[in-house]
């Protein structure tokens, strides 16, 4: 381990520890704020884990998020909490495997449309089940989990996701993904098992997203499909990841934090203009920062230093 990487590991740990102790010195509202923010950091990072290298734009985030929340609501009375989370992860995994096997051969815009449809499909299935089998739509979650507890769980999940994303980035799998993202034909000629690699990453990403939904669900007490399968969650995750930059480890995080804070500020100061501003930001990101802030910053810095940037990757995020 070089001194530099040792330094960044140490820094990562110190920041993590500082964040973990936050509930002891910060107010309750800060913890609440951090829950929302950490939730989106995990969602955006997990989203970019799969969509970044493969360039598959997925709008299925909320499908898995909702599955997580629903699993908790169904099992919270019957199983211990840890097992509930495990069960949620398992359900997310199974759905991801089934869906992934069926669809990861789709490319480009077909996948985008399918993933959007998936969220709606899951929502309708849940609704159908509740209507015809249980005869009630809302479900109650009465779990004695505190805000602090939820925050710590999300923080741990965030750390794990970032670590995992970092590890993938330097593994053979990560390299394989990059090849797939650049050119699938080349990848298959290199002997990469394209479907397998994509499926593995899609599943991991989906499981993490499912866990976010599962961990956050106890905060709402009552859930129904329209609450947990809200498509805005998918769009926000996408925007955050794109703003930060999907092909860099810290990109989604750097996109999620400012956008989250911005929306929090907007909802207090311009309560009626949220959708307009959301749309404008979306447009701005696509036109001005197609590769995210991190890439833009790097380009500006390297220009100053007089280094030319390889042009291959520009404008390719979408």
């Amino acid at each position: 381990m070089t001194l530099k990487s040792f330094g960044s590991v140490l820094f990562f740990l110190v920041v993590l520890a500082a964040l973990a102790f936050l509930p002891f010195y910060a107010g309750e509202y800060v913890v609440t704020l951090m829950i929302g923010m950490t939730g989106y950091v995990v969602l955006a990072t997990a989203w970019a884990l799969f969509s970044g290298p493969t360039r598959y734009i997925s709008l299925a985030t909320v499908a898995f998020f909702g599955i997580g929340a629903y699993t908790v609501s169904v099992l919270s009375e019957t199983l211990p909490y840890v097992l509930v989370l495990l069960a949620a992860a398992l359900v997310g995994l199974v759905v991801a495997l089934v869906v992934g096997l069926a669809t990861l051969r789709l490319a480009g815009v077909y996948f985008v449309i399918f993933s959007f449809g998936l969220a709606e499909l899951v929502r309708q299935l849940v609704t159908w089940y509740e209507v015809n089998i249980t005869g009630t739509l809302g479900r109650y979650i009465f779990l004695p989990v505190t805000s602090d507890g939820i925050y710590w769980q999300l923080l741990a999940l965030a750390a794990a996701t970032l670590l995992f994303s970092w590890a993938i980035g330097r593994s053979r799998l990560g390299l394989a993904l990059k090849v797939i993202g650049d050119d699938e034909v080349v990848a298959s000629h290199c002997g990469i098992n394209i479907a397998g690699v994509k499926l593995a990453l899609f599943s991991v990403s989906a499981v993490i997203i499912t866990l976010v939904g599962a961990i956050q669900a106890p905060r709402w007490t009552y859930i129904e499909p329209s609450m947990v399968f809200n498509p805005t969650t998918s769009f926000l995750t996408l925007i955050m990841a794109l703003l930060g930059g999907v092909d860099r480890l810290w990109g989604p995080l750097l996109g999620a934090i400012p956008l989250f804070l911005l929306f929090e500020w907007l909802s207090a100061n311009f309560p009626n203009h949220y959708p307009i501003i959301l749309g404008l930001i979306f447009i701005a990101i696509v036109f001005v920062l197609p590769n995210g802030v991190l890439a833009a910053a790097e380009r500006i810095f390297s220009k100053r230093r007089g280094v030319t940037v390889p042009a291959a990757n520009q404008g390719g995020a979408l």
Binding site: G27, Y29, T32, V131, G138, R219, T221, S226, T232
Partner: protein, 407 residues
């Protein structure tokens, strides 16, 4: 020597602390309250903005305006403090709502919080109200579980009844009519496969069974259905004199048109959410006479008529005929409880639970933290959506069954 000096040093410190803290406290206690902070987080944007904009937000605006025009909220000592509003948008997301409520309680430290719109969001909000000790007057939450919630959240108040209340009242209206021999005891019903529709149809099946009403047609349709012709035809063929749709506003409007097109004239027509919207009358004119639905208002009450007028003058639109007046009454209850007990939330909650209040609904008293004096069913008569059930409550109108044939 050493000990003594330490002791005197301690004494000095203690003294200094006392003096300093007393000095620091004086300006705080001398500071007079100049306003009462009232906060709310509503779905101002997103899928819930429609309902919020019809039932909840206009009433909050009306109430705040009226109170402030009168000089503010009256305190027990007769002084009036103007309301300062802190408003947030939850963007129709439960997580945002929970966060906004926490922000109101811990950052803005508002004196009282007004609840969000809809059953689900009030349930998501209830633990937050409870945790920070705010009274929670859930005026737009329809739930059969209110008695359980009251035990769980002591300061929660449930003002809009439960699904069973509405369907058993409807069953009674039908049974009364069939006892008179004007309709048969057969019902055809359809319901939307979403929140409200499911709750009501699940409550309706046992209600009808208990009342000895035969459900001859019972279908559920998915959200977004626009063509009801097949269902209308099957209901027509079923021989039922009563057609019920536990619908949401888009289908309520569509069904109203499509029963006319299909020339379907059952003796009783009952539609779900949307029937009580003022715009329903505007869009459909005379065709809606005799149509029944949830809610209704006391047509004989001058207070209600006056309230409707003030609402329209202040917000530019008429209130709906169901939860609007309840929402407004809940604000009147809060206002009166503050007048009696001041800004102590504990005492105010206690007063809301036990006190008797003069509101737009008349004399209002909660039973076990619930409002039970409600109108369970209404009918469009002479351009008003008037209440018909419970029939024995003063102010109830006579239901018109069979409904008049369309011209």
């Amino acid at each position: 020597m050493n000990i003594i000096s330490r002791r005197s040093a301690l004494r000095l410190i203690a003294l200094a602390t006392t003096v300093l803290s007393a000095g620091a406290l004086t300006p705080v206690s001398a500071q007079e309250r100049t306003s009462v902070k009232i906060g709310y987080a509503l779905s101002l944007t997103g899928p819930n903005a429609g309902g919020t904009g019809i039932t909840t937000l206009p009433n909050y605006q009306l109430w705040v305006k009226e109170v402030n025009d009168a000089g503010g909220l009256e305190m027990p000592d007769g002084k009036r403090l103007p309301i300062e509003v802190v408003e947030y948008d939850d963007r129709s997301s439960a997580e945002e709502l929970v966060r906004a409520l926490q922000r109101l309680a811990t950052q803005d430290e508002v004196d009282f919080i007004l609840p969000p719109w809809s059953t689900g969001y009030n349930l998501a909000a209830a633990p937050m109200f409870d945790r920070y000790g705010y009274p929670h007057l859930a005026a737009t939450s329809v739930t059969d579980k209110a008695p359980e919630f009251v035990k769980r959240w002591k300061k929660s108040f449930w003002l809009l009844g439960g699904g069973h209340d509405y369907t058993s009242a409807l069953a009674k209206v039908l049974v009364d009519a069939s006892d008179k021999g004007v309709i048969n005891k057969k019902v055809a019903m359809i319901s939307i496969a979403d929140g409200f529709g499911i709750d009501l149809v699940t409550a309706a099946r046992p209600s009808f069974q208990e009342a000895g009403i035969e459900v001859v047609y019972d279908k559920t349709y998915p959200v977004g259905t626009t063509d009801f012709t097949p269902m209308i035809n099957e209901a027509k063929a079923s021989g039922a004199d009563t057609f019920i749709a536990f619908s949401y506003p888009p289908e309520t409007f569509a069904l109203t048109q499509q029963v006319q097109v299909a020339d379907f004239n059952p003796k009783v027509l009952y539609f779900g959410v949307g029937t009580a919207f003022p715009i329903y009358a505007k869009n459909n004119g005379d065709a809606i006479t005799g149509i029944m639905g949830i809610g209704g208002i006391d047509a004989t009450s001058e207070k209600v008529a006056d309230y409707r007028q003030r609402h329209e003058a202040a917000t530019g639109k008429a209130p709906d005929y169901w939860a609007s007046v309840i929402t407004y009454a809940s604000l009147e209850i809060l206002q009166e409880a503050i007048k009696r007990k001041g800004l102590d939330r504990e005492a105010v909650s206690e007063e809301i639970a036990t006190g008797t209040f003069q509101t737009v609904l008349g004399e209002t008293k909660l039973e076990d933290n619930q409002l039970r004096d409600l109108w369970w069913a209404g009918q469009w008569q002479n351009g008003q959506f008037v209440s018909i059930a419970p029939a024995d409550r003063p102010g109830a109108s006579q239901p018109i069954i069979p409904r008049p044939e369309r011209k």
